[in-house]
């Protein structure tokens, strides 16, 4: 079963913040985040390898709660370029190389 993301969709004004959550019914061994623009391939944003890890990338950061089997992506002071669909991804079982993606969150930033 694929990880579930929430919310499914969100609309923001430029400069507003957003949080996207990714929850799994199975243990998460690592969590990756990707952004996909309409009609394009997904692009890697960041990876979290260990529980409790937090990472930042300009105004986009993420956290990983291994015990709760969830990760969150934080978008602060959003820009128009942040629009797209965000996916979390994870390896479905340590060492399996089977890689699956979450259900996706559509984010639209308005001027």
């Amino acid at each position: 079963q694929q990880p579930v993301q929430s919310p499914q969709a969100v609309i923001l004004r430029e400069g507003e913040d957003a949080v996207i959550n990714c929850s799994s019914s199975k243990a998460l061994y690592s969590v990756h985040w990707y952004r996909q623009k309409h009609g394009e391939a997904p692009v890697f944003l960041m990876i979290l390898l260990k529980g409790g890890e937090q990472k930042g990338h300009e105004k986009i950061s993420a956290s990983f709660n291994e015990k709760k089997q969830q990760s969150s992506l934080y978008l602060t002071a959003s820009q128009l370029s942040y629009s797209g669909t965000y996916f979390c991804g994870t390896e479905w079982g340590s060492g399996t190389y089977k890689y699956i993606f979450g259900t996706g969150t559509r984010l639209k930033v308005l001027a």
Partner: protein
């Protein structure tokens, strides 16, 4: 640097016709290779993955198959296409870091 190629970019095929999509990776050795399908407005469905030449793991039954005749070549095939095979097909590669790098995709329309 590594690059991934997919072709064709778009394809329109009648129901019942065969399919062959090709993906090649440059600049890396022994990558893990993946085929995903994305229906319009939907998430990424894992179809096949491969950890080495001739090693294919299938996640989806039905009428699709995959082959890896060379280390950096991954082929997706079908003998007879169905209407439900329409979608955006993405090839991806990863190394030990598990980050997924996607090709530009093939947009397939079955008529």
């Amino acid at each position: 640097s590594q690059t991934i190629h997919q072709w064709p970019a778009t394809l329109v095929q009648p129901v019942g016709s065969p399919l062959s999509l090709e993906c090649t990776v440059e600049g890396t050795s022994n990558p893990n290779l993946y085929w995903y399908r994305q229906a319009a407005g939907r998430g990424l469905q894992l179809l096949f993955y491969s950890v080495g030449i001739g090693q294919i793991s299938s996640e989806v039954p039905q009428n699709l198959s995959a082959s890896r005749p060379q280390d950096r070549q991954f082929i997706l095939s079908s003998k007879k296409l169905l209407l439900s095979d329409s979608g955006f097909y993405l090839c991806a590669w990863s190394d030990l870091s598990y980050e997924q790098y996607f090709g530009p995709g093939t947009r397939l329309t079955v008529t």
